[in-house]
Amino acid sequence: MNAIEIRGLTKNFGSKQAVNGLEMTVPMGAIYGFIGENGSGKSTTEKIICGLLVPSGGRVKLFDRNYTDTDVRAKVGVLIEAPGCFSNYSVYNNLMLQAANLNIENPEKEVVKVLKMVRMEGAASNKYKNCSLGMKQRIGIAMALLGNPSLLVLDEPINGLDADGMRIMREVLMEITKTGKCTVVIASHILGELEKIATHYGIIRGGRMIKEMTAEELNASCRTYVALQTRDMNRSKMLLGSKYSRVEEDEAGYLRVYDATTPEGIVTYLYENGILVGEIKTDKIGLEEYYIDLMHEKEGR
């Protein structure tokens, strides 16, 4: 059974097509990184999954049931844009309201539990309006975690979080998906952070899913490269460019040789041409670079 199964989803806002025949499959227990440019349709898709937007066409199923099913809806936790909290209520009271909406049997205990999970137990009595952006994001996560959801839909949950906040968020998501009973969909632009936790990826562009893959598949398709620094970078680039098909200079000032299998051949080749290599290493392109490459490929660059 898949947690989410979307077929041919479309959503129009007037004449603008935000989602255009989207196909998406999120297996149970996955941490699904939902990636795409601004305006690619990520948030729209997430809002449809949460029942907040009415789709123009297509089919959405959650746990093999219609996504509007009352029983299914109670199993979804959400953090889209900002947590829906009343600014003059305390953090605790906001969470108690949502606990009541979810018919949680022992709401006090449950609220304390989720506050502990996001390390916010000390701020329970603070008014929501007095909380920092990072705190608000954590409150949003706590709210989404209420009632042991089987599906968490998060939109940019790590925005505004400091390094510690990101770590906490990572730990919480790993913890809740450990048993395989909870599935998480995260839309985020912070790909480096997403790469640390995601088990599956979906890349969306212009309202269409252009790639869906597992973390293993991403690893396999991420090319290795040799990065090096020399005293004469321009000449090195010219020399290596004549021997290898793709040589680029990266932001950190390294020359990247993509189709070299080992560094030894490069070191020898440059040495023979009178250039000494100062530093050399082999590395693999990450999610961010994979994504950028894929986008360039789609643009035909």
Partner: protein, 271 residues
Amino acid sequence: MEKTNGVIFERNSFGKRIKTMLKVDFRRMFTMRLVYIMAGICFVMPVLILVMTTMMDGGVSVNPQTGVETAMEGFDNVWQAIGSISGENSGMSMSLTSMCNINMLYFIAAVLICIFVADDFRSGYAKNLFTVRSKRSDYVISKTLVGFTGGVLMLIAYFIGTMLGGMIAGLPFDLGTLTIGNILMCMAAKIFLMLVFVALFVMMSIIGKQKLWLSVLGSLVSSMLLYTMIPMLTPLNSTITNVMMCLIGGVVFSVGMGAISNTILKKTNLV
């Protein structure tokens, strides 16, 4: 409870759903400072109106340019602040006593309900709510009932304020041809009529969503049409017929408006 591939689905009955929704909405409504401020205004307003109009009663002001004299007419009786006897004043009459009475509260209720509903959408609370609850009808029923309670609270505050204002102003409590039963029936009819207005305000608020100005404007304009009917439906000499008419009308109207509100919520985007 149903278990499918490790996911436990809990089935909640309509009764359980509506009970928790009402609990949340009542808690929200009565922790809103605005409710108490508005109830306070509804209490103070008739006191001020009755005292001031009594002080100005009989006074004549002359327009220095035209020389036209305007005589100030106050209330003759405390009950005039609650309503008028049928046939005595038509709803279209623009006299002070026909305008400054309890019927103004239907407009104040519009503001309260619009703020109450718009807050759900402006804070993002509606996002949390509608993600976990797909039955839009629960929301409409709950808002209508809670809004109705708020409206009734204001009517009662105004009624008490009228009694106090009458005493301070020294106005007669003379019932004349009326009985205390008529006054109580009039109040009961006004209370049930509130249901009609609340259903309308909830619908306008759902149309406006986070746009409070649109909800308030829509509510005030649409209720203007119904406003003229209030003196006719709830006169001071109301009988059980008036009460039943308002009760049945209130229920029928709120069910109809509720169905429209429900459809709007189902068919439109919530964020």
